[in-house]
């Protein structure tokens, strides 16, 4: 098992090495199939692991292998592989989507100038993602976390000739760093207090009360949980960065500058899910306050991003904001304690969102070729305002779009319904069980279900807005429309697989009830509860009970809101009963805010970056004018004066002696230089003379 | 042999009583003289044979005038060479010009010291005989370069350089091939190598073959090695198709261009000496040396009868095809057979059967090499080097590993 896991981890690295180092040999010979072959092997191995896992059918299935990485003084860092239900499922998802994207890219990236590099980077991305999934401690996850960031940077900037792509890659990298700093601080806190970073070690350490006392009480005085709360929130900051949660979400829409398959793989299905995965791993150590923070960040993100998605015209931007919103859902689910639902949504979302992205890629691909055919290089191939009526031209893509959109909107018989419903139920239950503290006092907790359901409405609305604008109605650019045609098999087949995986029964087996939540998934994934000893505030059984009760009303409500959203979209964009423009002008400020992403980027630039630069300038000025001028240079000037006095004495007395001995040796050297002829053979003879001399000295 | 010879001398009543060491030295000198005589006569005979064989290959008669069937032709040629004026070119370096041929000749003769003509007739039965022969034959290169340089003639120098390059290159595959045999025999002693080839061949140690257990039949790798050795050895002695160093059409006889008369005769002598040496070495290493393919004296006598029958057939063939009578082989072999049957002590191959068998093998090999000469065209220089470095050497290395594997498989060596 461990060997299989290691193979899964390292095979993509091999793919990377081959693609990068043997580029010249394989580039013109369909070298991408090496990577695809490796990826399919990985997929097969992942299936094997999955089969083994399902064969156990045990929520506590767990294999762990640890080796010491290095020792520093009396503490050691470990490396290890952890195979449990979560990581196996994640591995399968990563391997599956990565394989499909590999195959899809053969057509999508055909003729790209850095074709081999692209495949190499896909390989290193898959390697590092697998590393995150297989890591058994927080330090290792951090290492692969950074690697994932790096590969994301490389892939976003794949077309670095475009300024926007280069900027987007830098933005993604730097924004992620902000989160990662928090994560690193969290790691440091845990390391300092517990002395270990292994998941199991941390859980048992906290559960057995090691946190209480010592450094654990640093900030909280008697209450040790203050520091633990901080540790949880700081660790979660990594997830905020990577999963594009509210304050740090700004990089993800820009990341759409990368190739679309990359968006599907990294920015929809896997890398952004890494944040959720991390939250899943830290879930047991989150204190109630930390959980509330997580939940609120998630809820805000879900709702906020959804509102932006309504007004975007770029097909990929819509999907990007939709991704941010859905990630917010997952985070919110974890924050509200609906652990299973959050992870479940991660899986289902990976499938349908990858499908959506790839399908949009198919549309863009077709648009691109059509634009290329009519030699139009100015029109934006991703702008939905140039599309319309594509249903007849691209039937497969259309069908897949429909399936995935129904899934994301939470319509029964699709996977999205199952997971989304569970999340909404979880937030409902959370709100209804919050009886203490500030959450209960102002019914603050009820904001979460409100955000959840609100986002659900909007999601359904903007997804169908996208479909209606793209596939229905009249074509807005008939000249392009003429040239459009369906994408090749290598692109549509992965799409079909992903669309198929958006159907419910893959997740509900052995039950085939589309409303059931008792499939294999909910059996093998079990809410671990919390390991923090904080008394009665959060009670797992209590929560499960509330969750069960909230299930039915939440389901009905979510069905209603989904229908509402779809219906409204139909009214506005298909039947044109309501004019979108007039609606926009009526809503005025709201529309402009949404269209401009609530001015978040502007806020960062004007509110943070510019003042910071100004502050830097001021500090630099102080540094130059006062510190340097008076303190450093002043000291210098005084020293110079003293030195010149000493220098006179030095010149006369010390140098005189030194020069005199110098002259002596110069003369000696001059007289001896005639021995140095530059001929080695002369030196040999001199050496022999020396030998004879030593012999003579010894003899007499 | 030296030891027994010295003792034999001392046992003679009329022999002056001397120190053993001095008698040994005398024996050494005698054996050396004997070897030299053997080589000289051998060269004269082989030149005749070569002419006749080439005539046979080209369906003509060859020398016929001097002596019966031209048998004295080469003697006459040798006399002519001895009586010719000894010319040394004015601009040649006279010391090296004189020394060169002798170095070649001496190295050719000295190598014969380790050749086992029969179990008792071995001039020096050394424990490192094979290595000794290989090492001595490498001295030839120096002599060739010396003569080529001293001639002060560009053709000579080219020929000498080519020859040196060729011999040095082909020493490697030949050495590796011999190494395979040495690994098999576990000894460098020539007689031990021969004795190791006794008995009859059996494949994989259980399938008996109707062949003597000569190394060329011992296992597939040595079978390949045999042919590689023949090729490499042909190259080492500069014979066609590897006779680039002295190719008349390109280099006007190469390093021999400026030589004439007696010095040229020395070259010729040493060339045929090396030729015979290679045939001897092949016979010893791959074909069981002085061992009879048949086990008993009776078998030897019987084989003589077979030879008689062959000679009869040959006579008949020549009679019908060329319409002339050639009874000399028939007469020689017939008389020897009768003599052997009547007086077993008369014919030396009955008392020393080894001499007969090794002679037969050597003569067959010499015939084979002469056959090569009239069959294959000459190689180009680049082809020559290509064959040595890129064909023979990899195969030889492979063979060496193969032989080791074979020995391991058949249980001759264990780990």
């Amino acid at each position: 098992m461990i060997t299989v896991a290691l193979l899964i981890l390292l095979l993509p690295l091999l793919s990377f090495a081959i693609q990068i180092f043997f580029r010249k040999f394989i580039e013109s010979k369909n070298g991408e199939w090496i990577s695809i072959g490796i990826q399919l092997t990985t997929l097969g191995l992942a299936f094997y692991l999955f089969a083994v896992m399902i064969g156990h059918y045990d929520p506590h299935f767990r294999i762990e292998e640890n080796v010491t990485w290095f020792n520093l003084g009396n503490f050691s860092l470990e490396m290890g592989i952890l195979i449990d239900n979560i990581s196996v499922i994640m591995l399968l998802v990563v391997a599956l989507i990565s394989s499909l994207v590999h195959i899809y890219s053969t057509e999508y990236m055909k003729g790209d100038i850095r074709f081999s590099r692209y495949y190499g980077f896909l390989g290193i991305f898959t390697f590092s993602m697998n590393g995150i999934v297989l890591a058994n401690n927080f330090f290792m996850i951090y290492v692969f976390w950074e690697l994932v960031g790096l590969s994301s940077y490389l892939l976003i900037g794949h077309w670095w000739e475009k300024n926007s792509a280069a900027d987007a890659s830098k933005k993604a990298f730097i924004t992620n760093r902000v989160g990662d700093i928090g994560m690193f601080m969290g790691l440091m806190i845990i390391m300092t207090v517990l002395g270990t970073l292994n998941y199991q070690g941390v859980y048992t350490g906290i559960a057995s009360g090691e946190w209480e006392g010592g450094i654990g009480t640093l900030f909280g005085g008697a209450n040790p949980h203050t520091l633990l709360t901080w540790a949880g929130i700081l660790l979660f900051m990594g997830a905020v960065g990577k999963s594009a949660q509210f304050p740090l979400h700004i990089w993800l829409p820009d990341a759409m500058e990368g190739p679309t398959p990359v968006s599907a793989l990294i920015h929809a299905a896997t890398m952004v899910a890494a944040g959720v995965y991390l939250t899943v791993r830290i879930f047991p150590i989150l204190t109630p306050d930390a959980m509330a923070t997580v939940a609120f960040i998630g809820g805000v993100t879900a709702f906020y991003a959804a509102t932006i998605a309504i007004t975007q015209n770029d097909i990929k931007k819509v999907l990007a904001y939709s991704t941010v919103s859905q990630l917010g859902y997952m985070i919110m689910a974890l924050g509200t304690g609906a652990y299973v639902a959050g992870f479940f949504h991660l899986i289902t979302h990976a499938m349908f969102k990858a499908g959506l992205f790839l399908a949009s890629g198919s549309v863009i691909h077709a648009m691109h070729h059509a634009l290329h055919d009519i030699k139009d290089h100015d029109t934006d191939a991703q702008d939905m305002r140039n599309m319309g009526g594509l249903k007849s031209k691209m039937p497969y893509t259309y069908l897949i779009f429909i399936v995935a959109s129904l899934s994301i909107s939470g319509i029964p018989f699709f996977s999205g319904f199952l997971s989304k419903d569970a999340i909404l139920a979880g937030s409902w239950a959370y709100a209804s069980t919050a009886h203490e503290g500030w959450l209960a006092s102002m019914h603050m907790a009820w904001i979460l279900p409100f955000f959840g359901f609100g986002a659900a409405v909007i999601t359904a609305f903007y997804m169908f807005r996208l479909i209606f604008m793209t596939f229905f109605g009249e074509s807005k650019r008939p000249d392009i429309f003429e040239k459009m045609h369906e994408s090749p098999k290598a692109m549509t087949v992965p799409l079909m697989i992903l669309a198929a995986l958006s159907l419910f029964f893959f997740y509900t087996i052995p039950s085939i009830n589309p409303f059931s939540t008792h499939g294999w998934f909910s059996h093998v994934i079990e809410n671990p509860g919390t390991v923090v000893n904080f008394g009665s505030t959060f009670n797992l059984e209590h929560f499960e009970h509330a969750n069960h009760e909230a299930h039915m009303p939440a389901m009905i409500l979510s069905l209603i809101v989904a229908t509402l959203g779809i219906g409204f979209a139909t009214l506005v964009y298909l039947l044109k009963k309501v004019s979108a423009e007039s609606l926009a002008s009526k809503l005025g400020v709201l529309y402009k805010g949404s269209f401009n992403k609530w001015y978040m980027d502007e806020f960062y630039i004007n509110g943070i970056i510019r003042p910071f630069l100004k502050g830097c300038d001021a500090v630099a000025l102080f540094d130059m004018e006062y510190y340097d001028h008076y303190l450093i240079n002043g000291a210098g000037r005084n020293t110079k004066k003293v030195s010149s006095g000493v220098g006179v004495a030095d010149d006369l007395i010390v140098d005189g002696a030194v020069n005199f001995s110098g002259y002596i040796f110069q003369w000696l050297g001059w007289s001896l230089k005639f021995i140095q002829t530059g001929r080695i053979q002369n030196y040999l003879i001199f050496a022999l003379i020396g030998v004879v001399a030593v012999f003579l000295l010894n003899a007499f | 042999m030296i030891e027994s010879m010295a003792n034999w001398f001392l046992s003679l009543t009329w022999f002056p009583q001397m120190e053993l060491a001095s008698v040994k030295l005398l024996s050494v000198l005698l054996v050396g003289a004997g070897l030299f005589a053997f080589i000289a006569v051998n060269a004269i005979v082989l030149v005749y044979v070569e002419r006749k064989v080439s005539a046979f290959m080209q369906v003509r008669l060859g020398p016929m005038r001097v002596g019966p069937y031209g048998t004295l032709q080469t003697v006459a040629d040798a006399l002519k060479l001895l009586l010719k004026e000894d010319i040394i070119p004015t601009l040649a370096d006279s010391i090296l010009f004189r020394v060169g041929p002798f170095i070649i000749l001496i190295s050719a003769i000295v190598a014969f010291a380790a050749i086992p003509f029969s179990p008792t007739v071995t001039a020096a039965d050394m424990s490192i005989g094979l290595y000794y022969i290989v090492s001595i034959s490498s001295i030839v290169v120096v002599g060739i370069v010396m003569s080529g340089w001293a001639s002060n003639n560009k053709w000579s120098l080219y020929g000498a350089m080519r020859s040196a390059a060729q011999i040095v290159s082909y020493e490697i595959p030949v050495g590796l091939t011999l190494l395979a045999v040495v690994a098999m025999a576990g000894s460098l002693n020539m007689n031990e190598i021969i004795i190791a080839q006794g008995g009859s061949s059996n494949l994989f140690h259980w399938i008996p073959l109707p062949l003597p257990n000569w190394y060329m039949f011992n296992n597939p790798f040595l079978f390949i090695a045999f042919f590689m050795y023949i090729i490499g050895a042909t190259a080492e002695i500069n014979r066609t198709p590897f006779d680039l160093p002295e190719s008349e059409s390109e280099l006007v006889a190469g390093f021999m261009t400026e030589y004439s008369g007696i010095r040229w005769a020395l070259f010729f002598l040493s060339e045929y000496a090396n030729f015979t040496l290679v045939a001897f070495l092949t016979a010893v290493v791959f074909m069981g040396g002085w061992q009879s393919p048949f086990e008993t004296i009776f078998a030897a006598k019987t084989s003589l009868l077979v030879l008689l029958a062959l000679a009869l057939a040959w006579t008949g063939y020549v009679k019908t095809k060329a319409n002339r009578l050639s009874i000399y082989p028939l007469a020689i072999i017939g008389l020897s057979t009768i003599a052997a049957w009547l007086f077993p002590g008369f014919a030396i191959w009955i008392t020393e059967p080894g001499l007969f068998w090794i002679a037969m093998k050597v003569l067959s090999l010499i015939f084979l090499l002469m056959w090569f000469r009239w069959t294959f065209p000459r190689l180009r220089v680049d082809q020559l080097m290509y064959v040595s470095w890129k064909v023979l050497m990899p195969i030889a290395l492979f063979n060496l590993i193969g032989v080791a594997t074979w020995m391991w498989l058949t249980g001759e060596i264990q780990f």
């Binding site: 530059g678 001929r679 080695i680 053979q681 040999l684 003879i685 022999l688 | -």
Partner: protein, 101 residues
């Protein structure tokens, strides 16, 4: 023949002749020849001591290694000499002074 001194003396003479060759010749190949003389002198000593003093064959083994080293050294040195000839047109060691100053 039976005295170790004769071998040692021969070795000493060869060594000194080699040393002379190495230190006075201009030609690089000639210097190599001197080196070979020195190595041969050393080898004679090894073998002589192994016969007369240590009574073991270790000296032979060491000699074989020295011979092997000499072969490797000669091959590499001649390659260098040929390179030098290709670059400068001569192989006089006393003129190979482009690193001077």
């Amino acid at each position: 023949m039976g005295y170790i001194e004769s071998y040692l003396a021969l070795s000493a003479i060869l060594f000194v002749l080699g040393l002379y060759t190495v230190s006075t010749r201009r030609n690089a190949v000639a210097i190599l020849m001197g080196v070979e003389l020195i190595l041969n002198a050393a080898n004679i000593n090894f073998i002589a001591f192994s016969k007369f003093v240590t009574h073991s064959l270790d000296g032979h083994v060491v000699t074989i290694f020295v011979v092997m080293l000499a072969a490797a050294e000669a091959a590499v040195a001649l390659a260098i000499v040929l390179n030098m000839y290709n670059n400068t047109g001569h192989i006089n060691v006393d003129e190979a002074n482009s690193l001077k100053q």
